[in-house]
Symmetry: C2
Subunit: 688 residues, 2 copies
């Protein structure tokens, strides 16, 4: 729970304050004072009566009432101090920077529980423990440096699972001019987790007078649905979010769990969640900083980039990076291009990249930008690469750039690579409130990441035609011991959803089998009824094309233990497709889709969405399958009816809303042709 006393306290006490700035309690107090906190400041130190010029109490008792207490004392004392402050001093917010809690051992975990209980007793916020604290426009409540100068409108809000990572990211970000609005270090985060800070930022979101960018470093996602809800809401209001969720690999999760006891969530689920919410997925501090820097500029609304440069090499590498990431560097030619060329030195090129040579001037840069802004309609954004060989000052160039970046409607991204030769001019440029991208390729990749992360899409509504009651009726039918629904129940669901399935007849005698064969026509598929893992016990036979084979297979299958009968199906042909669902704790249902066969088994060519989803989202994901050309049809071979496939997947998404009890679902294969898609085999597992 986040309350106003945590965010904007009228008084703060540092418990364990010190004159020694090498100690956390000392530096914390120092930062609060130096940060110009305007409320009342108290200090508790057992031995000193004055700490950093503030009157200090030796005991808690001597304190007046105080809104926020920051604890920098050994873990064992924290629970009782919190209790006393809550009981006798109306303290409603705590930041515990001490370590030695659940991240250490079981004793620490119990201390943490006790501490949280005590805070909860007084409805108090508890940030941490094991965190570096909080920086916002009201106070600088961290024991670390640097303290970035905050900008509550153009800066970004930063939520971090790791205090050290927050520090390192601020250090690196400040170098390129990235600005911050607030920093929230989550620490062990058992009472206030990262998602709670996001909720707070959502509630206070103000697209005009507040910051619009949020970046997060997450080691676990304890409340995925909460994350999704508030991220979606913030983005819908015009905000932008980028995040690292580390621990994507086994080695990484081990590292994460030793760090903050984070639970490993599958990277697949995280990515599906981020995609649904519209959060840009990042894997390094540098990537997060670059994406946040892109966010700090005007929004990229199209994929056509003009690369403007006086340094050919950078333009080549940047063009490669943009093209590889799916953005365009469109060729510029024709009358307007010719006209522009006349303003430039002989030897310049305007075909895009627009290279105005090492001798290019500030005035020429201004003209080029104006052409891109007003005359080249096919251009959506500009990147300007301008460094210095060290011959002369480039301040006049950066001045033009600064003005144009303000007045142009199209976004302009600056690459100022001369960290040595143009250090002074870059500082001037940053002082104007800009962020610099020192490496053109890193900018290129970040632009592509941002562009390729779609906006959140609203889930489509459940269609009226679906017979919900009929579907829910399967909950009253028996499942097998592992929780799988019966063939009949599966069929009930498919029929209620309107998903075509292969014609089939269940038989339990040779005579019935032959009758069924006649009715369905060869070729046929025969499957044993009873055993779950049919293939493994020889319970599936394909290409049955004679009465003899029908009888032979029937007999063989009925010999399989647990066999209760045989299912005879019409054998269909087509491209193998699949749809699957798995339930990921906390996240909800993940919808998986793709082509079947080797595409799943060998190539892992699977796309994943978080349910419930929209048809647009499904179509978008299908288009990103490596095997998508097969769905479209290649080399004269027919593809499948992609719209029908997307419709079936959408119905399965709806199904997870109707039957949240589903823990696992597989329709594999569906056989698709240009006209039909037919479900051939399905398994549904539920947990009532």
């Amino acid at each position: 729970m986040i309350n106003s006393q945590l965010i904007n306290p009228s008084s703060i006490v540092v418990i364990g304050a010190s004159n020694d700035l090498r100690k956390a309690g000392g530096k914390m107090l120092h930062n609060i004072i130096a940060g110009g906190y305007t409320g009342k400041i108290y200090a508790v130190n057992q031995r000193e009566s004055q700490v950093q010029g503030q009157n200090s109490s030796s005991t808690i008792e001597q304190l007046p009432n105080v809104d926020l207490a920051i604890l920098a004392i050994p873990a064992q004392f924290c629970p009782s101090v919190i209790d006393e402050l809550g009981k006798n001093h109306k303290t409603k917010a705590f930041i515990v920077i001490s370590a030695g809690f659940s991240e250490l051992n079981e004793v620490g975990e119990k201390l943490e529980q006790k501490m949280i209980e005590n805070a909860n007793k007084y409805s108090a916020s508890l940030s941490g423990p094991n965190s570096i604290g909080i920086i916002n426009t009201h106070y600088s409540g961290v024991f670390t440096t640097p303290i970035p100068q905050l900008d509550s409108i153009t800066g970004c809000d930063f939520i971090s699972s790791s205090g050290a990572t927050a520090v390192f990211l601020m250090e690196a970000g400040m170098q390129v001019g990235l600005r911050f609005s607030s920093i929230y270090s989550v620490g062990n985060g058992k009472q206030i987790c990262a998602e709670d800070y996001l909720e707070y930022l959502d509630d206070k979101f103000d697209p005009i007078n507040g910051s619009k960018t949020i970046i997060m470093y997450l080691e676990n996602i304890s409340k995925p649905q909460k994350l999704l809800k508030h991220a979606t809401s913030i983005i819908a209001k015009g905000g932008r979010i980028a995040a690292i969720k580390s621990g994507a690999t086994k080695a990484g999760s081990r590292a994460a769990s030793s760090h903050t006891g984070a639970m490993a969530t599958s990277d697949m689920a995280t990515r599906a969640l981020f995609r649904k919410a519209g959060i840009v997925y990042c894997s390094s501090r540098e990537e997060l900083i670059s994406v946040a820097s892109v966010f700090s500029y005007k929004r990229l609304t199209g994929k056509n980039i003009a690369v403007i440069t006086h340094a050919g090499g950078s333009a080549v590498m940047l063009s490669d990076a943009l093209a590889q990431g799916g953005l365009h560097v469109p060729l510029l030619s024709g009358e307007i291009a010719e006209e522009l060329l006349e303003y430039l030195h002989s030897g310049s090129s305007v075909s895009n990249p627009i290279d105005f040579l090492a001798t290019g001037s500030a005035e020429q840069l201004g003209i080029i930008i104006d052409f891109c802004e007003h005359k080249f309609d096919c251009i959506d954004a500009m990147v300007v690469v301008f460094g210095s060989p060290g011959l002369f000052d480039v301040e006049n160039v950066y001045k033009v750039l600064n003005v144009k970046m303000d007045v142009c409607k199209k976004p302009i991204f600056p690459v100022l690579p001369s960290l040595v030769n143009a250090a002074k001019e870059i500082n001037y440029f940053l002082s104007k409130g800009h962020v610099n991208f020192p490496d053109e390729v890193i900018l290129g990749k970040a632009l592509c990441e941002v562009y390729n992360t779609g906006a959140p899409s609203e889930p489509s509504n459940i269609e009226n035609i679906i017979d919900i009651k009929k579907i829910k009726s399967v909950l009253n039918t028996p499942t097998d011991v592992e929780g799988y629904l019966s063939v009949e129940a599966n069929n009930t669901i498919m029929d209620a959803l309107g998903i075509p399935r292969a014609a089939e007849i269940a038989v339990d005698s040779e005579y019935q089998a032959l009758q069924a064969a006649q009715k369905l026509c060869f070729p046929l598929v025969m499957k044993v009824i009873g055993p779950v893992h049919k293939s493994d016990v020889g319970g599936v036979a394909l290409d049955i094309n004679s009465n003899n084979l029908v009888v032979e297979q029937y007999k063989a299958m009925m010999e399989i233990p647990e066999a209760r009968g045989v299912l005879i199906q019409k054998q269909h042909r087509g491209i193998e497709l699949f749809v699957g669902v798995s339930h990921e704790h906390g996240f909800g249902h993940l919808l998986m889709m793709g082509l079947g066969g080797i595409f799943v088994e060998v190539l892992a060519d699977i796309k994943v969405c978080l349910c419930p989803c929209s048809k647009e989202e499904i179509v978008f994901r299908l288009k990103n399958l490596k095997g998508y050309p097969l769905l479209q049809g290649i080399r004269g071979k027919p593809g499948v009816d992609i719209d029908a496939f997307a419709e079936i997947i959408l119905k399965i998404s709806h199904l997870t809303e109707i039957l949240p009890e589903i823990t696992e679902l597989d329709i594999n294969p569906l056989l698709g042709t240009g006209t039909d898609i037919i479900a051939v085999d399905m398994r549904i597992r539920i947990e009532k």
Copy 2:
């Protein structure tokens, strides 16, 4: 041609020298003087008698003999100045920094040709034009800044197609402590190209007293075989090379060609060349700097990395990056791990990442490193992440790190992320000759790139059993108009190489067709003889399993224009494979391999080697195919005889040596089973 006068001149004249340091001729002279050049310096300036304290001539005539002339004068004057200097002043080397040559227009191109002719007349080196010049331990012959302090043993030699990119890379590299040994700016490079500088570095390579790392920024590869030869040679002598070849995409090539008139070479050919040579392929300045920084440390000899940190978050992201790139962060446990744990603060983790907490000391770091060096046999290298929250000085930690990096045999890579809080200590660390990796993930990716770039492999020798004479005999057989060999010639080659092919009989009557069918047994494949693109004209029929069909297809195929007969083949089953060859100008033959069908057509799952190659290289490449599990056999389905497949590919590599006239070759498909691989269809095109 690179001569000693270019590399180590005993006298230098700057033509177009100036007192104005904002002019290239002024800055050039300044840099040479400031760089402490010990030979004689002359200046030519039309108006001044003294330039920067040096006596200046107003005309060339007045000059004495001089080894190296640096030209900073308009392009139109360069050819005659070079002629005069070569004729009358024994000048044997020129650096032309002026622009306005082939990169500008046709007039410039002619000037450039003339200038080169003049230099050649006197056997003089000509570096440039349109370059920034040369920096080596003898002189600082560039007009740009910064001039890095050179280290001829631990620094890297840097060859750059782009002067500005060279400047920007030096600026960024110097920030992290990357050292340089020499810089060669190629410019238009028509007389001395990048490959010539590489040859020079190869010739002078000294693994003890010279630099061992070369980095290159290339916009074109004009002499691929020369690049291959010297890169391979340098790496064999213990050197290490990383390079960017920009212009990988269409947009990028357009940018490159407008920049230096670079010819677009396919990225595929470049990658095959780099792989063969053992050059690490990079795509950005930052990547190149990171890889060069990795090169500056001891060599990574195994894939097991210990991640040592006091900051959990960095360790998690780094572990993810290493694992995703194929390196290991092995779990450490057992007695030794327990023993190490006793030296650390409570709450530390040694399971790897080794996290010794925010409170970890320099002494503990030393102990951890010693354990990794001496006791954990499974560890090949260490990464130490150590920043500062700003509470206290970390110099003692960096001192320990500095010592351990020197004494340990296992490489230690430092991540010092606190660019603000530990700026002073990082500078101390860099002053000890180290390079810093500010971002852990960027280091992780660079380590993986380096580790995954194999050493160059010697091509296997041509087997004696191949009947070379027989193969060469096909050159005397007629080809079709497009240069394709006849079916008979193809078969001659396959048989001489000992590549099994499908049994087949060519027929030109119905009667012969039926006889052939009887001999080969159903099912059969029938292919029209005559037309090249058989499939497109309905000239290929599969699954022929009756005499009626044989007759029917025979009649239909003989109706196709240009049909001269029909080829009847036994229809084989198996996994579709393919081998192909294409000839890339200058590079030689590229060998392509993979699975057939959708793997080529949809997934572009193709691996490419530069001929001639070794079997190890082929096997290595096959293992990297996405479809490799299919070759091994999955889910009980048999795979193919991978060794036999590699052997066939190797034979095709040999074939390109025997018949360099081949411009295009396709064996597609080969059908592979667990025991046999049979070539079913092949096309070979030659250019005599």
